[in-house]
C-alpha cells in the first residue's frame, strides 16, 4: 500500500510525541475518516511495538543471565530460606572463624597454585553481548571482546574508554582481563582505583585484589584483604572455607 511522504512524516511525528496541537487535531481527524491513513498508523504501531518488544526481550534475557550468574551460596539460601536468626548468626560466626583459621595457618600450597584454583573471571553482567549483534562502537566492541575471551583486545579498549570516563563495572572487567593476561600490577591498580573511588562493587574489588596479592606472592596483604572480606560478606567467607581446605 502506498502512502504519501507527508502522511508518513505525520505518523512518525505522532509516535515520537512531536506533534503540535494543530497537527494533533489533523491527525485525529484523518484517523477517524481515512481508512488508508488508519492502516498506516496501525502498521507503525506494530513496528514500534516490535521494537519495544525486542528491547524488553533483551533485558529479560539479561536478567535471566544475571540470575543464572548469581553466587551459589545466594542460590542455596533462596532455595531453602533460613528463617531463624540464630541459624544465620551461627553461619556468620562459622564463616568468620574459618577466615580466622585461614589467617592463622600458613599456606601449604604455593600462592600461585591457590590463585589458579580460585580465580574465575568476573562475568560481564554490565553490558552483555547480544548474540548475533555485531558491536557498533568501541564500547560495545570492548564488552564483546571480554565476552568472547579476547582479553588482550578487551584490555586495550577498556583502557582507552576509561581514560575519558571511569566506570566501576568497566574497571572490574579491565582488572580481570589484566589479571588473566598476567599484568598483575596493572590489575592491582585497577582494583585499587575501583575500591577507593567507587562505593559499588566494593566486595568484588577486594576479592580480586586479594587474588592479585596471592598471584604476586604477597601473602600478608592477601591475608589482610581476606580478613576484611570475612568480616563483611558471608559469601566470601564461604570461599575462604574452600581456600582453607586446600591450604590444609
Amino acid at each position: 500500500m502506498n502512502h504519501s511522504e507527508k502522511d508518513i512524516a505525520l505518523v512518525e511525528k505522532y509516535f515520537d510525541a512531536e506533534l503540535s496541537d494543530s497537527e494533533m487535531n489533523h491527525f485525529t481527524m484523518r484517523l477517524e475518516s481515512d481508512q488508508n491513513f488508519k492502516t498506516l498508523v496501525e502498521h507503525e504501531k506494530a513496528i514500534v511495538g516490535a521494537i519495544r518488544h525486542q528491547g524488553l526481550t533483551e533485558n529479560l534475557q539479561y536478567l535471566e543471565a544475571l540470575e543464572a550468574n548469581l553466587g551459589d551460596s545466594k542460590r542455596v539460601q533462596l532455595q531453602a530460606p533460613i528463617k531463624k536468626w540464630y541459624y544465620v548468626a551461627a553461619a556468620v560466626t562459622i564463616g568468620v572463624l574459618i577466615v580466622g583459621k585461614v589467617l592463622l595457618n600458613s599456606f601449604n600450597e604455593t600462592p600461585d597454585k591457590l590463585f589458579e584454583a580460585y580465580f574465575t573471571p568476573y562475568p560481564n553482567m554490565f553490558e552483555p553481548t547480544v548474540r548475533g549483534n555485531s558491536a557498533v562502537n568501541k564500547r560495545a566492541q570492548a564488552f564483546q571482546a571480554y565476552d568472547q575471551g579476547d582479553y588482550q583486545n578487551a584490555a586495550i579498549l577498556f583502557t582507552e574508554l576509561l581514560s575519558t570516563k571511569k566506570e566501576p563495572g568497566m574497571l572490574l572487567l579491565l582488572g580481570n582481563a589484566n589479571l588473566i593476561l598476567g599484568n598483575v600490577e596493572t590489575a592491582k591498580a585497577n582494583f585499587t582505583v575501583l575500591n577507593k573511588d567507587f562505593d559499588e562493587l566494593d566486595i568484588q574489588s577486594k576479592w580480586y585484589l586479594s587474588l592479585c596479592y596471592l598471584k604476586s606472592g604477597d601473602i600478608e596483604r592477601a591475608r589482610t584483604m581476606l580478613k576484611e572480606l570475612g568480616k563483611t560478606e558471608i559469601t566470601y567467607a564461604n570461599k575462604a572455607k574452600e581456600l582453607l581446605d586446600k591450604v590444609d
Binding site: F15, A50, N59, N137
Partner: protein, 193 residues
C-alpha cells in the same frame, strides 16, 4: 542509593543499573512471593523479572517520575498485581508466561491492542534490519534515549546526523515490513489456489 537516585540511575543508565535494582530487592521479593502465593522459587524469579522490567519501563516511559512510597513498596505492588491477575485468570497459581505478560502489560494498550499478524510481521522485519539501525531504533523507542544521548552513544557527528539516521532506519524498517506483508499475502494467495 536513595529512592530518587534509583529513578535517576534507571532513567539515565543502562543494563548495569537494571542489575543493581534487581539484586537490591531480589531476596526479599522472592521469599515474599514464594510464601504469599505458595509457588516455586523459579516461578517467583519469573514474576520478579517481569516486575523489574515493568518498573524499568514505567520510569523510561516517564510514567514514574517521583515515588510517594519506597521502591520496595512499589515493586511489591507491581508483583502483587501480576500475581493477582494471574490468579484471577487461572483460578490457581500457575507459572506466568513472561513474554506474554510483557507484551500485554507494556506494549498493548488494553483498549487498542496491536494486531497479532502485523506484530509478527513487524518482528520479522526488525530481525532483517541490521546494525546499527536496530540498536538505534531500540535506543529511541524502547530505552527512550534522547537524540543527543544517541549521538554520544553511537558516536554520530552531531544530533542532526543521528536524527536523519533514525528517520532513514525507520523508512528502511517500514519497507521491510511492507515486503513482509506482500510476501505473506502472496503465500496466502498461493495456498488458496
Amino acid at each position: 542509593m536513595n529512592q530518587e537516585d534509583i529513578i535517576h540511575k534507571i532513567r539515565t543508565g543502562g543494563q548495569r543499573e537494571l542489575a543493581l535494582v534487581y539484586e537490591e530487592y531480589r531476596e526479599e521479593f522472592l521469599h515474599w512471593v514464594a510464601k504469599e502465593y505458595n509457588c516455586s522459587m523459579d516461578d517467583s524469579k519469573d514474576l520478579y523479572q517481569v516486575t523489574i522490567l515493568i518498573f524499568y519501563d514505567n520510569i523510561r516511559q516517564g510514567k514514574l517520575e517521583h515515588l510517594v512510597s519506597s521502591v520496595k513498596t512499589y515493586l511489591f505492588g507491581i508483583g502483587k498485581n501480576i500475581a493477582k491477575e494471574n490468579l484471577r485468570k487461572e483460578k490457581r497459581y500457575v507459572p506466568i508466561s513472561k513474554e506474554k505478560w510483557l507484551k500485554e502489560s507494556l506494549i498493548d494498550e488494553p483498549s487498542d491492542p496491536i494486531d497479532e499478524e502485523s506484530f509478527l510481521r513487524a518482528k520479522s522485519a526488525l530481525s532483517k534490519l541490521g546494525q546499527p539501525c536496530q540498536r538505534l531504533v531500540e535506543m529511541f523507542y524502547y530505552e527512550k534515549k534522547s537524540i543527543p544521548e544517541i549521538t554520544e552513544a553511537l558516536q554520530y557527528k552531531n544530533p542532526e546526523t543521528a536524527k536523519n539516521q533514525k528517520c532513514k532506519c525507520m523508512a528502511r524498517l517500514r519497507k521491510l515490513f511492507e515486503q513482509e506483508v506482500v510476501q505473506n499475502s502472496t503465500v496466502i494467495n498461493h495456498e488458496s489456489f
